[in-house]
Amino acid sequence: MKIELAQVSRWYGNVVAVNDVTMTIGPGVTGLLGPNGAGKSTLLHMMAGFLAPSGGTVTLDGTQVWKNHHIYRNIGLVPEREGVYGFLTGWQFVLSAAKLHGLPNPAEAAGKALATVEMEEPKDRRVETYSKGMRQRVKVAAALVHDPPVLLLDEPFNGMDPRQRMHLMDLIRSMGTAGKTILFSSHILEEVERVAQQIEVLVAGRHAATGNFREIRRLMTDRPHLFKIRSSDDRKLAAALILDSSAGGVTLGPDGLDVQAAEFRRFAHLLPRVARAEGVRLHQVSPADEDLESVFSYLINRST
């Protein structure tokens, strides 16, 4: 099944959370990548029928998603918030989901879903006694209980320990391979590229990039990088660096050098060699804009 977004926008008063996004999510695993506050949850909520688009349309195989409870036969949703009744046991929670879906054999479906997320052993404990990762898995089990062709997960790896994370990643990958349409949101590139075949990047509410992880990775590393360098002789180092084309610009300041590296890889190799040849001792080399925000803002500036 396909989720199609056509020129979807969402604003709250004067604040634009999602701005004119058009994308199609098809079978396989798609990662929705973006920094916190980029509008990922807003977009996911619109796909899940929990938010009306202010403009544009969201459809699932051609049918309108908003105000249409029938879509939940085909959609499994794993929300970011806890959203699990603490007073129910894991078994009761997943069984209730199966019954709410009106499945012919709810107990069998619940058992199967709990087995899929490896939660059979603690299933008779109350959810409130679970760790965050266990709650997450029980939520995934409840979302999978009716074997939906579409699965939407909002920041599913948050709060999971590495082993649980690995397990959920395997599960998501295998469901994607089996032909389900899976979309998950994340602000961590490594997470997304390990699981998703297709990556959609959202920055400041805009659809900044699309592609497989190789394309996205290249976009992100081949951009200009800014380094702050302090050395034993800044002026000498500046003069030597500017001779190479990988250094796009060098600014000499009272507390060191700011170097704009046009080609990341080449510059990373160049710097130590030049310093050595010139006999300059490097005290500090730090990327000035390595946080994800600046990576994303580069992407968004590039796309405008």
Binding site: Y12, A17, G37, A38, G39, K40, S41, T42, H45, A48, F50, L51, A52, K67, H69, H70, I71, Y72, R73, I75, L77, P79, E80, R81, E82, G83, V84, Y85, F87, L88, F93, S96, A97, K99, L100, H101, G102, A142, A143
Partner: protein, 238 residues
């Protein structure tokens, strides 16, 4: 009516210490009735006074608030409502089910204790016990609907509900003549007065106004709550 939704709602509402909150006022009512009996004031006048001032005017709005908002507001607050809403069940059915849970809880925790308290004082004299029990039940059903709606449309349901229950129903409803027409407890009172022959039971609203008003408010509030649930939105942290 969806039995799974009802089951989860009953457990959420009655589980843990919540049930103590629901028991407190009815036990107080029965306790007062026993006290009146012990001190020898078990007559129609004091029975009706207890029903008027405590059962209908104090206990019922507060229980209505606890039950009516309690069936939905906590779930909206902590996001668990998504578990019910992300299923192929029509939202008005979910709202209707939650209303029935709240109404039935009010029947058990408000109408039954009202009957017991009045019966302890005057047995079945002049239909006082029966009249007030039905009055409380019917008004309780209307409260369940109104407070359910409040729980759906605002995150501040309890605060607004307390102001409504105390200021409007208790102060304005009993003091200001015109406002009494638009008070659920006065409508319940009208039903009680109709069913009881006691000279002490009086109503400030006619039955001809109270019955349609109760029906319109109840049905309207449940339908509105269902419509609001259809457009229930997750706004997220962004």
């Amino acid at each position: 009516m969806n039995t799974v939704v009802a089951g989860i709602t009953y457990r959420a509402l009655l589980g843990r210490r919540r049930i103590l909150l629901l028991l407190l006022l009815p036990l107080g009512l029965i306790g007062l009735a026993i006290l009146l009996r012990v001190v020898g004031s078990a007559d129609q006048r004091s029975a009706v006074l207890l029903m008027d001032t405590f059962a209908i005017a104090t206990m019922l709005p507060l229980l209505g608030l606890i039950a009516g908002t309690g069936v939905i507001a906590p779930e909206i607050d902590d996001g668990t409502i998504i578990h019910l809403l992300s299923k192929p069940i029509s939202r008005p059915v979910i709202a209707g089910t939650k209303f029935l849970v709240a109404a039935s809880v009010l029947g058990l925790f408000a109408a039954v204790p009202t009957y017991i308290a009045a019966w302890l004082l005057v047995r079945n004299e002049d239909g006082i016990a029966f009249g007030f029990a039905i009055g409380v039940l019917v008004a309780g059903i209307a409260y369940a609907a109104v407070f359910l709606l409040l729980g759906v449309i605002t995150r501040h349901a309890v605060a607004i509900g307390v102001i409504y229950a105390l200021v409007w129903e208790t102060l304005v409803g009993t003091l200001i003549q015109g406002a009494q027409k638009f008070s659920i407890q006065q409508w319940g009172q009208a039903i009680a007065a109709q069913l009881s022959d006691s000279p002490f039971v009086d109503a400030k609203v006619t039955l001809g106004f109270a019955v349609p008003a109760l029906i319109i408010v109840t049905v309207g509030a449940v339908l509105w709550a269902g419509l609001r649930l259809r457009t229930f939105s997750l706004t997220g942290d962004e």
